[in-house]
Amino acid sequence: MSQAREEILGKLRQAYGRGPGAPVANIPPTARIVPRTTAAPETELAQLLTEIGKLSGVTRRVASMDGFRAALADLVRAEGVKRATCWTTPEMDAWGVAAALQALDVEIVPADADKYLVAACELGVTGVDAALPETGTLALTSSPDRPRVASLLPRVHLALLRPAVLRPDLHQVFAETQAAGYSVLISGPSRTADIELTLTLGVHGPKSLYVWVMEMA
């Protein structure tokens, strides 16, 4: 292998006065913490929505397909959406996301289209793989039908989540997401306080985050 690699590993071993293949201690128990305990599902959901609100995310509970389509129409109008890029998971199909958007005259841009076209989309619609009430966090993994750019490039990110994806703590989320090649924890819209410590939203990531709880069966 490379000389640099051997030298560095050699120096590290030398610093500890040991050779290759030295035994590795177990991780001490004091290095582990107990996961957060959950409250009742309704309380957890309420906390999630409250925390997202504190981060300037906008939340909504959607009880029916009609309600979903009406809310989508409001959003498209309010945010001036002309183009959107979406996840294409079976879940998204079941909710008829693309169809509903097209019915509102929104052009659907595939995520693997030219990146300038994707970047020109006003709206990105994704599902949510897991959610953390304590911090108002959404966990999204990546795959061919879950493109990363949908939650990154457009100015508006609409995240649709089922109540079943709530998890008590990072421990459970990581147990599920660590095998994925890519995941991201999203806690609110993009922000910075770099200018005079004044908080501004929408630096590089989305400026607006909408999180809708899809409670229909």
Partner: protein, 486 residues
């Protein structure tokens, strides 16, 4: 600023601190400390201390078995389709990255905030090779435009007013920029989007490297970290070898500590987990992913047991925020991209006593940093060792202090340690001070004590305790133990 300094003259740097800097620093640090305090109180101090101990223990375990976890990480990254490179020093790291850039004919690189890349002077090297490199963290973007380094590891441009930033944008970007944070942010967003989309390479650091799955973790609020690692076709991550952690469970502790300690947020806006390039061609993301593992003196730090915990640092900046020295001088005085207490112990060792010998003394040893550090680095203990290294040398380094100082200290110690000489000195000082004393104080003294009296008077020598003790009709007629008569 990111060039390796010749010698850091901390005193001269503190004399050059602009008048408005302390107030600007204190405004920023007060905000972070205040937000942090709210969250720590909400968690409860007992739980917070448990978290800190867990953070310390997992980081210590990781660097105690560092080569094991690095090999594991390398294997995992390679399995995931990433390419791993090892860099012994800054020059090698720069060369590796430039080679990758040359192969991909990179003309423009976009960069997320990374202390490791500042440490190796990467931007300068890229520009020298004719490659434009753009800092994308808003604060770093601003100071890059201005041609200076970061003044704080979390908010690099906190010391600049919005008027100064507006003027800077006008001058460098040719835009009419109103002096409003919101509008300036939108201008930066627009400008940088064009750059993200056209860049051939995205460069990032890594907050953590998970050995089990070869996962690079990046933490940002702005989304620039995600942009740099998702949009350009090639992603290169420069990660210090000290960043390795065993598994994802480790992250549960460290992520609970990091944002709370840094800015008083429960979690930063975007915490990203990258395990190699996308696994299928149908997935959006970079086509190629490279990880450069950077030593650059970290292995040397591990040679000294008393200093190993220097590498526990998770770069939260809390110690900067609480440090009274940092709060009065800001980041530039330290002459290194990482400043404050953690910067002092890191830079002192990376640069060595000849270059950075002034730094370990840039502290009153007040210990506030020890208390606030989320991973319980014994910073003042390490400072004491580094001071000894400068003065006396140790197993790893030669002394950097001049011989005359050590000779003076030896003479001083003998004088002070010999009771007869000590008492004589005490009497002499009481007599010699007479011309300087005004009302029990000495407002002006000759060098080197003028360094004291330039700011406040020195008290008059007034030792009379020993005589008083001997003269008093003490209970039971006792004097000192086993002492001969005076």
């Amino acid at each position: 600023m990111s060039q390796v300094p010749t010698t850091i003259d901390f005193r001269r740097n503190t004399q050059a601190v602009p008048a408005q800097m302390p107030a600007a620093v204190q405004k920023a640090t007060a905000k972070f400390l205040g937000n942090r305090a709210v969250l720590v109180e909400a968690l409860g101090n007992e739980y917070w201390q448990t978290l800190r101990q867990a953070g310390h223990d997992i980081r210590l375990h990781a660097i105690t078995h560092i080569e094991h976890y690095l090999e594991k990480a390398e294997a995992a990254v390679t399995r995931a389709g990433g390419q791993v490179h090892w860099a012994r020093d800054a020059e090698e790291a720069r060369r590796i990255l430039l080679d990758i850039a040359a192969r991909h004919r990179v003309k423009l690189a976009v960069k997320g905030k990374s202390m490791a890349t500042e440490e190796i002077g990467l931007n300068h090297a890229l520009e020298a090779a004719g490659i434009r490199v753009l800092e994308t963290d808003l604060g770093e973007y601003i100071v890059q435009l201005k041609g200076v380094g970061p003044a704080h590891i979390v908010v690099p441009a906190f010391h600049l007013s919005k008027e100064e930033i507006a003027a800077l944008f006008h001058e460098k970007l040719g835009v009419d920029a109103p002096a409003e944070a919101e509008k300036l942010t939108q201008i930066a967003r627009m400008k940088l989007r064009e750059e993200f989309l056209s860049a051939e390479m995205g460069i990032s650091g890594g907050n953590f490297l998970v050995a089990d799955t070869g996962t690079i973790v990046t933490v940002t609020n702005e989304g620039n970290g995600r942009m740099c690692t998702t949009v350009p076709p090639v992603h290169v991550a420069v990660v210090g070898i000290d960043k390795v952690v065993p598994d994802w469970e480790s992250l549960t502790v460290l992520l609970k500590l990091l944002a709370r300690s840094a800015t008083g947020q429960k979690l930063s806006c975007y915490t990203q987990f990258i395990s190699g390039p996308p696994r299928s061609a149908a997935e959006t993301g970079p086509r190629e992913m490279h990880l450069i593992l950077l030593d650059n003196g970290r292995s040397r730090i591990l040679k000294t047991p008393a200093c190993r915990e220097t590498l526990l640092c998770i770069r939260c900046g809390a110690c900067l925020n609480i440090c009274p020295v940092y709060n009065n001088v800001g980041g530039y005085a330290y002459g290194y991209p990482i400043s404050g207490p953690t910067g002092v112990i890191f830079a002192s060792q990376i640069l060595g006593p000849k270059v950075a010998g002034a730094l370990p003394f840039a502290s009153t040893l007040c210990g506030a940093c020890n208390e606030i550090c989320p991973v319980k680095i014994p910073i003042t203990q390490i400072l004491l060792h580094l001071r000894r290294r400068v003065v006396e040398g140790d197993e790893t380094e030669d002394a950097a202090a001049p011989h005359s100082l050590r000779l003076g200290a030896q003479v001083g110690a003998v004088a002070i340690g010999t009771p007869g000489l000590y008492r004589l000195g005490s009497e002499l000082l009481k007599r010699l001070q007479a011309p300087f004393v005004r009302g029990g104080w000495m407002p002006r003294l000759p060098a080197p004590l003028n360094r004291w009296t330039m700011s406040r008077p020195f008290p008059a020598f007034a030792a009379d305790f020993r005589q008083w003790w001997r003269d008093r009709p003490a209970a039971g007629g006792k004097r000192g133990n086993n002492e001969p008569g005076a």
